[in-house]
Symmetry: C2
Subunit: 160 residues, 2 copies
């Protein structure tokens, strides 16, 4: 019994409130970039930048959404020139998605806007607290992913 219910519930409440607040900011930051990425673009371009060329299904698994969503977003990003696609030489069904130069530039612009916002929001934070929060958030996100099974395992509509 490592955690008191009080602390746990307070953390849950803080998370719920924070997710709401964070959603606003994350969509706004992307939208304010001209020729802006669709707000979800960030979530797709980031793993593309970090892990390089990869296929839709990998991207879907990494971002935790349905493949169909990724498929549509990739199509949109491709139309806008942010990503490029080529057939997978090892598998005729799949294609490999790669960040284009324009996409990298858009990502950099979005990142700059975010940094600006973050600087304002974090004006009176000190190094220690920020570092600590970053670590704890990363850990919590990982634990949430682990505790929240893939969508297929939760019968969404079929509540008993």
């Amino acid at each position: 019994m490592p955690l008191s219910p009080g602390t746990r519930d307070r953390l849950v409440a803080a998370v719920a409130q924070f997710v709401r607040a964070g959603r606003h900011v994350s969509t706004r930051a992307a939208e304010s970039v001209h020729g802006g990425l669709p707000s979800f673009g960030w979530g797709l371009l980031l793993p593309l930048e970090r892990d390089g060329e990869q296929r839709c299904s990998t991207l879907a698994a990494r971002t935790g959404v349905d493949v169909s969503v990724v498929s549509r977003q990739v199509a949109a990003l491709e139309r806008q020139g942010h990503v490029e696609r080529r057939p997978d030489p090892d598998d005729g069904r799949a294609s490999l998605i790669r960040l284009s130069e324009a996409g990298a530039a858009a990502l950099a612009r979005t990142r700059a806007v975010r940094s600006e916002w973050a600087t304002a929001a974090l004006a009176d934070w000190d190094e220690e607290d920020a570092r600590r929060l970053g670590e704890l958030l990363e850990r919590l996100a990982a634990d949430l992913d682990r505790a929240a099974p893939a969508t297929s395992q939760i019968p969404l509509g079929a509540a008993s």
Copy 2:
């Protein structure tokens, strides 16, 4: 210059990733309650429970969304019996929204489901880390609210 860019950007990335993960969990937890609240219901019922009877516009301000959204959600929650409405005795235009007994019960059920999930997700967290994260999150949410002006102040579509 209280914060290094490296720490700041890492925190930004952690927040972005976390918001994505958290959104999944928060919607799922509400949906899994039978006769479930619409996932946004939680966001409305919570301030109703905490601050008591209040009007739509107050609710909208508190939750940070447009009044029209609150209006529709209240209508839905009223149909489901989760909230009750009565005309404001002091102002014929307004109505006061109040959590019903059924709504309180639904809220309790949702909370129970959340606690269950949280217990699983936080299985190997210790008291100190959880408490610290809760505090830091609350502080960050407040700072984000402060740094991200109300929607009316950001011309959404009118990007230059």
